[in-house]
Amino acid sequence: MDFEVTYTEEQQQFRREVRAWLETNVPADVQRTPTSPEDNYQRYLELRAFGRKLGAKGWLYPTAPAKYGGGGLDVDYAIILEEEVDRLDLSLPPYYDSGGRLGSASILVWGTEEQRQAFLPAIYHGEVRTWQLLTEPGAGSDLAGVRTTTAVRDGDEYVIKGQKIFVGSDNGADRIWLIACTAPNGRRHENLSWFMIDANLPGISMQPMELMGTGGEGGTDSGVKQTVFFDDVRVPAFALVGGENKGWTVATTHLELEHGGGGRIGRNRVWDRLLRYCQETKRDGVPLTQQPDVRDSLADIYIKTEITRLFGLRNFYLTYARKAKSYEGPQLSYYRKTAGLWMTGAILEMVGPAALTTDPTWGSSAGFLETQQRNGIVSVHPGGTTDIQRVQMARRIGIGRSTREKAGTVHGAEA
């Protein structure tokens, strides 16, 4: 076994090139915590501009096929890019674009050649930011039970009506995709369709939902989600991906990714900051890291973050080597979420009420601990609750149903 990617001299040269490029192109102070809604929007614009620069080089979606505007790079190069961006406390894409990441994966597997050419380049170049619309007031965990949002064929168009909730973040989107019911009397899993559409069509309106904290699967750092209303929105039939009533099949690809199937490599930023905080903060004149009870708690927290990292690495490898997966995707999601929630208690006990305040003097740096206290709870539910992850695991282990369920396809064909 080899737990590390080993790099050739050519790849190391690429790393130097990336590092130098980032030094001149990352906007100054773009990692700041916004001080006002205006500053939040300003920062978003800076990140989008940076995203377009990355996109022009094929570095926004480095492994996406070059013929559709992606980087066409081997995964080893993508890892270098991710590592170099991560060093600067940024991600790829540098803003919340999980709709682009997940939606493009589904289009690659299930879209027609024409649809790939029409939809993918704008995503990969960073020209559009995309949100996914899945949950409805009456369909959350039971996503296949989507009924509120319907699409009816009318000539060369579909007419969409209904409502989606827990959508996106703040600062708006350019594109959205959704699953809508196209056969109200059809069989479960055979009655939904998947559409990629313009976010600014007539009849689409949005209303912010204020949340207790952030914590979307795609790493949104905003405490806002949207309710999206569709009032007889007319979309071209071309927007239908995968065929009418085939929406659930299209969704299995992005759901597998959203449930952790793609894995992750990279450091845990909360851990780094937590350790630094405990080294720099004293209790009764002694640094927290030298207090035996704190060391014990830190060890438990560290181990949870390490196991999360190892599960992420394993899933990354399985995807990277195009190996068949079973329960590993939802296992990562379940473990990460339950560990995060458990950590809120462990950190609160270890650090005390300083973990709860954003006060610049008495709280942690930029309130990162306060953020964790909120996020640990909020992130348990998006992208499939921990209970849903367990249902998935059981089916794939082969005990939840009479036949063992397979993991959704990420590439179109796994070994």
Partner: protein, 373 residues
């Protein structure tokens, strides 16, 4: 990056698995549970012929000198039993302690016979009311005519009732790590090994009553024992973890099969989410132990600093095995506590290995030290 086994590891796995299925099926494992000595002579000989006893012993000392990750594949298979016997205590911890601590002459004398299975080693470290650290070693030999005389007790010595040779950690100075290692004939006059009774698997008490050993019994140099033991443990512990991973894997497979086949209320019990939760808890512990162990093995085999990973692996695996067994008992209910079913052997082993060579908290604290927080 490659997280798959190599071809030769796959081959070793299938050889070991068919050996285990043939030679150590459930009834054999269950039958061994009540025996005073964990070593089944027939099985031991066959394992020796397969090279299992010298798998980490370098070739110049009669072993096959495999990488630790190769040996881990074997130990996972042994752990699936869980096959008792001094495979780990002699073939890994004993052999590596001699390798790290002994003089060249002593290595040449001892290791080939360990690799062949002719001699069976075990290492005696902790004592009544002491820890697994160097300060836990208080047994101090008296000098007499250039030899050492031992009086006292070592506790929780694995497989001592089947050992022919003991490596005994003794205190020879006032500094915390002033520990030396003595090579003692387990059959010498005054040495008594007794398997501790109860819910514990082949952990023994060893008493020394005026046991005289010659000066040549000192392995390596005086006061160098703890450092040698520390180095040996760093490499040995991940193989104990691999044994635990094998145990967790077996318990997992048993639970899945049972959840699929046991029908209650008209359906296989795996259809119930409460039962699914037990299986999921189990597989999460299994995979935590597996990947923590394999990363530690990879670091050791590639010469990376590994202390923190090794301590983490032992902490995680020690916790995982009892939790995995608990979850399996929830799935199996009454069936699981029938001794002949075989789960109970894992349950008892999981409790035994929880503390053996340091419990989770002890290893977490060593991990924190290694990470220099």
């Amino acid at each position: 990056m490659d997280l798959a086994l190599t071809e030769s590891q796959e081959l070793l796995r299938s050889t070991a698995r068919s050996f285990m299925e043939r030679e150590a099926p459930v009834d054999v494992i269950v039958g061994l549970q009540k025996v005073e000595s964990s070593l089944a002579p027939d099985l031991w000989k066959k394992a020796a012929q397969l090279g299992w006893l010298g798998i980490v012993v370098p070739t110049e000392y009669g072993g096959s000198g495999d990488q630790l990750s190769d040996a881990a594949v074997l130990y996972e298979e042994i752990g699936r039993g869980p096959l008792p016997g001094p495979f780990f205590s002699s073939g890994v911890l004993g052999a590596l302690t001699v390798l790290e601590g002994a003089t060249e002459e002593q290595r040449r004398r001892i290791l080939p016979r360990v690799a062949s299975g002719e001699r069976v080693l075990t290492v005696a470290i902790t004592e009544p009311n002491t820890s697994w650290g160097p300060t836990g070693v208080t047994l101090a030999p008296q000098g007499r005519n250039g030899s050492y005389v031992l009086n006292g007790t070592k506790l929780f010595v694995a497989d001592a009732t089947s050992a022919t040779d003991l490596v005994v950690a003794v205190r020879t100075g006032d500094g915390p790590t002033d520990v030396s290692l003595l090579h003692v004939d387990a059959r010498a006059r005054g040495v008594t090994a007794r398997r501790l009774p109860g819910f514990v698997s082949w952990q023994c008490e060893v008493t020394f009553d005026n046991v005289e050993v010659p000066a040549t019994a000192l392995l390596g140099g005086a006061q160098r024992g703890w450092a040698a033991l520390d180095r040996a443990l760093e490499r040995a512990l991940p193989l104990l973890c691999a044994y635990i991973v094998g145990g967790c894997q077996a318990v997992y497979e048993k639970s899945v099969a049972y959840a699929q086949s046991r029908v209650q209320f008209g359906v296989p019990i795996g259809r119930f989410q409460r039962v699914q939760d037990h299986v999921i808890r189990l597989v999460n512990h299994l995979d935590s132990a597996r990947w923590a162990t394999w990363e530690a093995l990879w670091k050791l085999d590639t010469g990376r600093p590994a202390a923190a990973s090794v301590h983490m692996a032992k902490a995680v695996a020690s916790e995982a095995y009892p939790e995995a067994c608990n979850a399996a008992h929830e799935v199996h209910a009454g069936m699981g506590v029938l001794v002949e079913y075989g789960l109970a052997a894992h349950t008892q082993m999981s409790r035994t290995l929880f503390n053996y060579l340091g419990d989770p908290r002890w290893h977490k604290r060593r991990m924190a030290d290694a990470l220099e927080w």
